[in-house]
């Protein structure tokens, strides 16, 4: 008898909590938002179809409420700088922002969940740096149908459905890769010969930013080397591969099985152990740091040895560039990226026209890293 009463009580408690939770959601969603279009969209729950939604968004005037940013994670300090820029712009424009990201850049499922949560909170606009566009499609469609504009940032949302992404504030990652190749080429031109190899460490083969930095580097490097009359083969990972038989120079790509420091260090060590490598490029903070860590024991990277090229900043990379171990690195403009994302999001929420913004990248070395237009981007 006691047990039966207990189970009935527990069941009642569960059901009550469930109902309370559902009720609270719609209340919470409606409360912070003052914008007319979003209020009209509020009673609509998840993926409801509302063809008039984009038009409603355009017809708004007045306050913009919450801007919700879903990033690829917070792990690297890069994202902290983006958040700082976003907060500065939000303070200036007088809007509220929230920024969330999954625990690691491998946690695609977690990011999808965050995007869905974001859509459910009915913000005025969403900023998204997708780990994997296909996985986010449901959330993107839901946002479209609810009339919530999406602004891409950093990787943006590659291959998104037509009209889903209003604009993007990102580094042109392909151009960044090209810049890295050009600068690296200057340093290795004299050493190029038959049998030499160039390494590319890529954190993953799914994120747009890392992929494009890889493609940009590989394409440009291949072009420059072929102009010298040498044959180039690209090997190592199916995504980047372009095998050519009898090639003089091989561009070797390594992608770890999952995004962990230990695996990336092993990849880098593997390259460093092969004497035919003349340059190694790490296309993001994680891989560049792995290159520096891997070289600690071997001391092969440096001005007299293998040319090391990195990306982004952080204390490890900055120290390595300053000491000359890494010949240089590409820095993005994360502060500007955060600011532009919020600026575009607010404009889109108000229904104004928005366009893509290239937040730019620069090559920094020990000589110019303290210049006033480069130093602020080199976060710790």
């Amino acid at each position: 008898m006691k047990r039966k009463i207990l189970s009935v009580l527990v069941a009642t408690a569960m059901v009550t909590t469930l109902l309370a939770g559902c009720g609270a959601k719609t209340e919470e969603a409606a409360a912070p938002v003052e914008e007319a279009a979003v209020e009209e969209a509020a009673p609509v729950e998840e993926a409801a179809v509302e063809e008039a939604a984009p038009a409603e968004a355009a017809a708004t005037e007045g306050e913009v409420g919450l801007i919700y940013l879903v990033s690829k994670g917070f792990q690297h300090q890069f994202w902290q700088a983006v958040y700082q820029g976003a907060q500065e712009e939000a303070a200036e424009l007088g809007v509220e922002i929230k920024m969330e990201g999954p625990a690691t850049e491998s946690d695609i499922a977690d990011q999808v969940q965050m995007l869905n949560n974001a859509v459910n909170q009915k913000p005025s606009a969403i900023g998204l740096a997708a780990l994997d566009t296909e996985a986010c499609l449901d959330g993107i469609t839901a946002a479209m149908n609810a009339g919530i504009p999406i602004i891409g940032f950093d990787s943006g949302v590659a291959n998104a459905p037509e009209g889903a992404i209003f604009a993007s504030a990102s580094t042109d990652n392909y151009a960044a890769g090209v810049l890295a190749a050009e600068e690296t080429y200057k340093l290795i031109e004299a050493k190029l010969a038959a049998g030499t190899k160039i390494g590319v460490l890529s954190q993953d083969a799914t994120g747009e930013s890392v992929l494009n930095r890889g493609f940009g580097f590989i394409d440009k490097m291949k072009e420059l080397i072929e102009a010298k009359g040498l044959k180039v083969s690209v090997e190592g990972h199916a995504k980047f591969e372009n095998k050519v038989d009898g090639a003089d120079v091989v561009i070797q790509v390594a992608v770890p099985a999952s995004v962990t420091a230990e695996l990336m260090v092993v990849d880098a060590q593997n390259m460093l152990n092969d004497d035919s490598f003349i340059a190694i490029y790490g296309s993001n903070q994680g891989t560049a740091e792995a290159l520096v860590t891997a070289d600690e024991n071997m001391d092969k990277v440096g001005p007299d040895g293998i040319v090391g090229v990195g990306f982004d900043a952080g204390t490890v990379i900055k120290e390595a560039v300053r000491s000359g171990k890494l010949a240089g690195a590409i820095t993005q403009d994360p502060l500007n990226m955060g600011r532009k994302t919020v600026e575009l999001a607010v404009k889109a929420a108000k229904g104004e026209a928005v366009e893509d913004v290239d937040t730019g990248c620069q090559w920094y070395t020990a000589d110019n890293m303290d210049d006033e237009n480069i130093a602020p981007n080199l976060y710790d």
Binding site: G73, F74, Q75, H76, T104, D107, A261, N297, M298
Partner: protein
Amino acid sequence: MEKEQKVSWKNNSIVKAVGTQRLVAILALLVLILFFSIASASFRQYTTFVSILDASYYIGFMAIGICFAIITGGIDLSIGTVLVCSSLISGTLFVRSGFPMGICLLIGVAIGILFGLVNGLMISKMGLPPFVATLGSMMVSKAIGSIFTSAQSVTWPQANQPGGWFRSIFKINITSASGSQILIPTGFLLLILCAVIMSIVLNKTRTGRYILALGSNKEATRLSGVNVDKYQTIAFVFSGMFAGIAGLAYGAIYSTLLPGAGSGFEMDAIASVVIGGTSMAGGVGTIFGTIIGVYIMAVLKTGLPFIGLMNYWQQFFTGIVLIFAVFVDVFNKRKKN
């Protein structure tokens, strides 16, 4: 009469002293090293040897700790995330709050001990199954690490930066005047020292013997008048403490700790322990075997790329080795019975 003479090698004194399981493990390690050395000239270099050692420290310390937990018949799933949590918190205190490095090192180990204590109490006093209790603390420690650092990563100082002296506990790289490097893997010495101390604790002290006994038969040990709650808790405190030490090792080698990482590390440690001859059922285990297991895994991890296999093959072969090691153990037990 024939039976007595049949399996003569098993009566060999060396084999008896070391134990068949451990002998197989040592042989496996030697075979692996030999194989990779022959297959690849670059594997034979000193720098490769140091790199293998570097990669082994954090797993090695975790494995020593969790060996105690497994010997009690339990498991500790939280060591990976406790490693990250303790290293994140102590690293953040150094980098962002300006605490002195020495204090931060102690705090890192203390956080590990704290989680170990909580695990131990949950399992012994509250009677939670170890799997469930440590699964819960795994999730909690993962979250606490992120919450404390506001989900930011932490980079421990490099060797030449203030506070960087802590790295010399695990590795010392001296650049000589001629430009060449002298590499001293001090972490290996520390690992062996800890292994020797904990082996003495396990085999020669009352604490260790009670832990082995309660793993073998908890009820009988309790009825003999031993406070099994206390000793089970101690085993998990060891587990947590070494996870804290492993966190410092990880910070010294890899510099950057990322919040949200860590789950998966414990699997490497558990695999090492099992390959080394410790039984998941409890009551049997050696620290020496655990260390051999750690190095089998470390050699595989670092060696496979030398023969041209991408590192996802490392997981594949580790799995095969693990299954084989457990099979040898089960086979031996069956033969005994």
